[in-house]
């Protein structure tokens, strides 16, 4: 259950059409929903239904065609971007986790995690301390100095999760974060995200195909052919 009713993500009639004219693809036709502080929400739907499009619009990576987007109570999009620097917003408020870990290959684990906090002018000592703490929390504290190429798939994914948390985000957006992991690992990663949401009051939106994860979420939003519908948990 949500710990409070403070809205963190709010979309109103959000729509996205890729391309123009004959080639236009209406990936998201109309979406309205709200996600609150501390909530863990699953985004389910068949392949090509528009999940990634939706989550990247919320992350200010893909520009919507229509509708409104609010993040942390602030109007972000209405016809056009309402803020100047979407990247600043991302590095200050949003953590991303992707299907593939997307670590930067030339930075070691510690640097991958501290990069965003340092770009936010966090004190370097503090950033390192936080990185250690997160890695410990995720059970990979011995990999601080390792390069991404020296990590297993599961370890990389956990480092990526640590990176998404390093800037104390209000929102975590995850696109199939467990796809590269075995069932056991996948479940433990999801449990971890769930724990974060409750302990640190983060709103978490996770795209997943895996029906076994469903019991772990507070709510389920289904995407179908560009429309969303709230689904009652059975």
């Amino acid at each position: 259950m949500p710990s409070s009713h403070q809205s963190v993500i709010k979309v109103e009639q959000l729509a996205k059409t890729y391309g123009k004219g004959e080639n236009a693809v209406m990936a998201i036709k109309e979406c309205s929903f709200e996600i609150f502080k501390g909530e863990t929400v699953a985004l389910l739907g068949p392949s090509g239904s528009g999940k990634t499009t939706l989550i990247t619009m919320i992350g200010c990576i893909t520009e919507p065609t229509q509708g409104k987007l609010y993040l942390d109570g602030e109007l972000i999009f209405d016809q056009h971007w309402r803020i100047n620097d979407t990247r600043k917003l991302r590095r200050q408020k949003i953590g991303f986790i992707f299907q593939s870990h997307n670590l930067i290959p030339f930075l070691n684990v510690e640097e991958n995690i501290t990069l965003v906090p340092l770009m936010n002018n966090t004190n370097p000592k503090e950033a390192t301390l936080k990185a250690k703490e997160l890695l410990e929390y995720l059970g990979v504290e011995n990999k601080l100095a390792a390069m991404p190429s020296q990590l297993s798939g599961g370890q990389s994914q956990r480092v990526a999760i640590a990176r998404s948390l390093a800037n104390n985000p209000k929102i975590i957006l995850a696109d199939e974060p467990t796809a590269a992991l075995d069932a056991e690992r996948a479940l433990s990663v999801m449990r971890l995200l769930k724990k974060l949401a409750t302990e640190q009051d983060v709103a978490i939106l996770v795209v997943t195909h895996d029906e076994r994860m469903i019991p772990l979420f507070d709510r389920i939003i289904r995407v179908n052919d560009g429309y969303v519908s709230e689904e009652a948990k059975s």
């Binding site: 990247t56 990576i61 917003l89 992707f98 930067i104 965003v116 340092l118 696109d175």
Partner: protein, 378 residues
Amino acid sequence: MISLAQRDIAHSLGKFLTTSAGIGMLLGVVLIMIGVYRGLVDDANILLKDTQAKLWIVQQDTLGPFAENSRLHEDVKYQIKAFEGIKDVSALTFQNLQLYRNNQPIRVFAMGYDIHSFYTPHLLIEGRPILANHFEMIVDQKTGFKLHDEIVIGRDVFNVVGITKDAVSSSGDLMVYFSLPDAQKLQFLSSNEQIRNDRARGIKTTDTTTINAIIATVEAGADLKTIGQEIERWKHVKVFTQEEQSSLLTKNLIERSAKQIGMFTVILLLVASVIISLIIYTMTMGKIKEIAILKLIGASNGEIIKMIVQQSVLLGILSFIAGMLFSHSLMDLFPKRTILISTDAFSLLVIVIIVSILGSLVGVRSALKIDPASAIGG
């Protein structure tokens, strides 16, 4: 802040160093070409500088011995010496000569000088100046002859009494020196058969009183122009100052070859610039994915531009260092002198850095166009 440029380089250090070495070789060739150019200009002036003369007296209506034939009668030198303000004079002869060492021909430029005048070969590094009026000579070390070697020219045997270093004529031939009488004799050196033929025709076979130029020093405070005009007015000769001779030499004689090398250097530099730009562009394009991730996690354009530009400049500087090492290790293998001047090297460094920055701008442009969404999926 973490230096992204430095981390990326450290991660693929081998590749980065190899690339620098490659560009370095190209820059090395540029440096050598500049060195060859400098060598050409410098060589042309060596002989002139070595005389340490103030005035050059040459045949009327000629530009002097380096440009065309100039002939004077030897006794003009006594008349010149008598002019007010003239301190000392030396008569000189110049001629091309073929020497043989181990039956190998060596083309040299021979200079005859008054051994009792102010002039002495300053480039001497071994032995002594010529003291005897006959059968002594000085050679440049690059001829391969050693001190006390005996060299046969015509019917005479010359003893090597001195060795010079880097003494070359304005066209780059190695220098040898003779006493004036010996040199005058050599100018009319002919085979026995030819002498017999010439005598039969009634030609005088030993006119040994001709010289090619007179050099002079002046008293302290004397005005070169005034003395020159005075001499020209009374004697039917042409007088140049040392500076005039030097600029005539560079203008008339080596300008075309210098331009030739200059053009080549410029083209080489352009090619190097294009290659540097291309490499930096490819280097940036090889990091599309990383740049997309950086944008995705919120890195500003400033961070990304800094990464690319810093890397390019570092590549440029490393390449330059490699180029310096490369050119310095090859320079001595060139038969003619190549001179690497630090101001030339510095100019090249500045050009390389500018090219690196300009080259990286192309990379930066494409990097800024990368869509952060491209990091997702796949």
